[in-house]
């Protein structure tokens, strides 16, 4: 389906636009604006070098690295376990899924198998994280659209309940550092499941309220429909993943494809969009949250008792065999993968994060060309980036 139209990247597109015209004069028609790194809606220290013709974008180059701390190098100079808290800080909105992806990769590398209860806990915390991330995203997106924080505040109100759950489970609200190789760190505290059930039950009500507030709003619809269209063939070729890919209509959800963890035990559907514009990306996230609520209801109902860590897992002196492994999960932002090479020492020889936020930005320019400045902001918002992960 995609092969016939796969794109060979045209080289001309990547030329840096000349600052002067061919006859050597300055071009007075174009306006170069550096949006960021200090800009209210670049979601952190991110810069876009934009060339404008009036308000139309004729060129856009993303510039990264303001938050670069060489996460991978740090991880290669420390033990496997000590990298776990650093993964929290990649995409700081979804520390649980980051932990999960890293733990999954190390388990592949070392041949560990988490017990059933730990898998259930991972699914529960992972899906709660998806709720947190998507809730924040729609809030931020509408903030970028100029809705003055009202949707964002409603989103944060709901997020608070889930962060409370995370705090009583892992001790920290955002930097959970909860999962371990072969399981989880601590068992669920007493009453946690009931509290989680309450939070999940009230979530559908919040989603209804949120949709009533804005989904039918004429301004939102006019601002988002037909804006930042991403065709499916380009999306696949440019390795776009996550809700952004599915908004373009490509059915690819790693929870369904890899069935990692125990996702094959749960009934849920994958929403797909047909237009691939900002509105679809917004709606896909709202629909995914409803599916997450379904998964959570099943997981909270079925969770068994039992141990939470693989007895083979070692906390101190953990040295996987020589070899390599690539593990990936469907993170809230897309495919989050960790690639590890072990040389038999306590530190990984190579530690690589596949950051969905960064790779989803590949097509930012393609989506923005010909749109207005105002659209650039919401297109960027709909990509869903966190600079901690983009720059690493």
């Amino acid at each position: 389906m995609f092969m016939e139209t796969a794109i060979d990247t045209p080289e001309s597109k990547y030329e840096i636009l000349p600052k002067t015209l061919s006859n050597g004069e300055m071009d007075g028609e174009l306006l170069e604006v550096a949006m960021g790194p200090q800009h209210p809606s670049t979601h952190g220290v991110f810069r876009m070098d934009v060339v404008l013709d009036g308000e139309k974008v004729v060129k856009l180059k993303p510039v990264f690295g303001y938050l670069h701390r060489n996460h991978e190098k740090i991880a290669e100079n420390t033990t496997y376990l000590a990298s776990m808290p650093y993964t929290d800080r990649l995409d700081y909105l979804c520390s649980m899924t980051n932990n999960w992806a890293y733990a999954l990769s190390v388990e592949k590398l070392a041949g560990l198998q988490p017990p059933e209860r730990a898998e259930y806990i991972r699914i529960i915390t992972g899906e709660l994280t998806r709720l947190v991330n998507h809730t924040c995203l729609v809030g931020f997106l509408l903030q970028d659209m100029g809705a003055l924080g009202t949707p964002l505040m409603y989103a944060f109100r709901e997020r608070e309940m889930i962060l409370d759950l995370f705090e009583s489970l892992s001790g920290s609200r955002m930097m959970c550092n909860y999962m371990r190789f072969g399981g989880c760190r601590v068992d669920l505290p007493a009453g946690w499941l009931e509290q989680a059930k309450r939070a999940v039950d009230s979530y559908s009500g919040f989603l209804d309220e949120f949709e009533k507030l804005l989904t039918e709003n004429e301004i939102l619809v006019a601002r988002t429909q037909g804006i930042g269209v991403l065709p499916p063939d380009l999306a696949v070729n440019a390795s776009i993943t996550g809700p952004m890919l599915r908004a373009s209509g490509v059915n690819y959800d790693i929870r369904k494809v890899d069935k990692y963890g125990i996702y094959d035990r749960f009934e849920f559907r994958v929403p797909l969009g047909d237009h691939g514009d900002v509105y679809d990306r917004y709606m896909i996230r709202l629909l995914e949250m409803r599916e997450s609520v379904k998964i959570l209801n099943q997981a909270l109902r079925d969770i068994p008792a039992g141990p939470i860590v693989d007895p083979k897992a070692k906390l101190r002196g953990f040295r996987p065999k020589v070899g390599e492994a690539y593990g990936r999960i469907e993170g809230p932002k897309g495919e989050l993968g960790f690639y590890l090479i072990s040389d038999g020492t306590p530190n990984p020889y190579r530690y690589r994060v596949r950051p969905p936020s960064l790779i989803n930005l590949t097509v930012l320019e393609d989506m923005c060309l010909g749109q207005d400045v105002a659209d650039v902001v919401i297109i960027l918002g709909s990509v869903d980036i966190v600079l901690g992960e983009v720059d690493r």
């Binding site: 420390t78 033990t79 000590a82 409603y154 930097m175 550092n177 804005l214 039918e216 004429e218 619809v221």
Partner: protein, 213 residues
């Protein structure tokens, strides 16, 4: 019809406006310095060192093994091992930290030091009001500031502390039982030796008896 969605949205905001006065579920703000959310049992902020008994210097569980120093991801722990030894809770002579510093401006509250500690000596505190005008010295916590009693630990992490105490008590009981068994064995050996001493044989060397403290 044009405007319908906007009207719906305005009804929703009006509902929230009224709800923020009537429904405590909606107005979730807690006004911080006056009201505080009680700390969750698993909450963690910065590490502290546990001591048994009343004397922080004597009861410190830490034996300066430096595992936490090695495992700490941001390397915020600094330990200098003592030259002499002190008895630990079982009574076994152990080293103790001559210097134990944690730079809380570097610490990222990950709890890995707690997990890797084999002696249950370092635990996470829930105290978070640590702001200090001195950027370097004020946030460098030394052994005396870090030492907190086992009772305090029980107060902030009740379940966890009870488990730890049970485990330590079991270990201690095991160690005592072993010591008793050893002592009995030695006593028996001594008795045997005493009976043997009646016969003309060289007396056993008394220094072989392990010094029990």
């Amino acid at each position: 019809m044009l405007g319908e969605g906007i009207i719906k949205g305005m009804v929703e905001t009006a509902r929230n406006f009224v709800g923020s006065y009537s429904d405590p579920e909606r107005l979730t703000t807690v006004e911080y310095p006056e009201d505080k959310i009680p700390a969750k049992e698993n909450a963690r902020n910065f590490p502290f060192l546990v001591y048994d008994g009343d004397d922080a210097a004597r009861g410190l569980r830490c034996v300066a093994c430096q595992i936490c120093e090695k495992e700490c991801p941001p390397k915020c722990i600094y330990i200098v091992k003592s030259k002499d030894k002190k008895p630990d809770y079982i009574g076994k002579p152990q080293f103790y930290p001559a210097v134990f510093d944690i730079d809380v401006s570097v610490c990222m509250s990950c709890q890995i030091c707690v997990e890797v500690c084999p002696f249950e000596a370092i635990k996470m505190d829930t105290e978070f009001e640590l702001s200090n005008p001195d950027r370097f010295g004020g946030l460098l916590q030394d052994k005396h500031r870090l030492a907190k009693s086992n009772e305090y630990y029980h107060k902030i992490h009740e379940t966890e502390a009870a488990e730890v105490d049970a485990r330590l008590a079991a270990e201690k009981a095991k160690a005592e039982a072993k010591a008793r068994a050893d002592a009995e064995a030695k006593a028996a050996a001594a008795a045997k030796a005493a009976t043997a001493a009646a016969t003309p044989k060289p007396a056993p060397n008394p220094t072989t008896v392990a010094p029990a403290k």
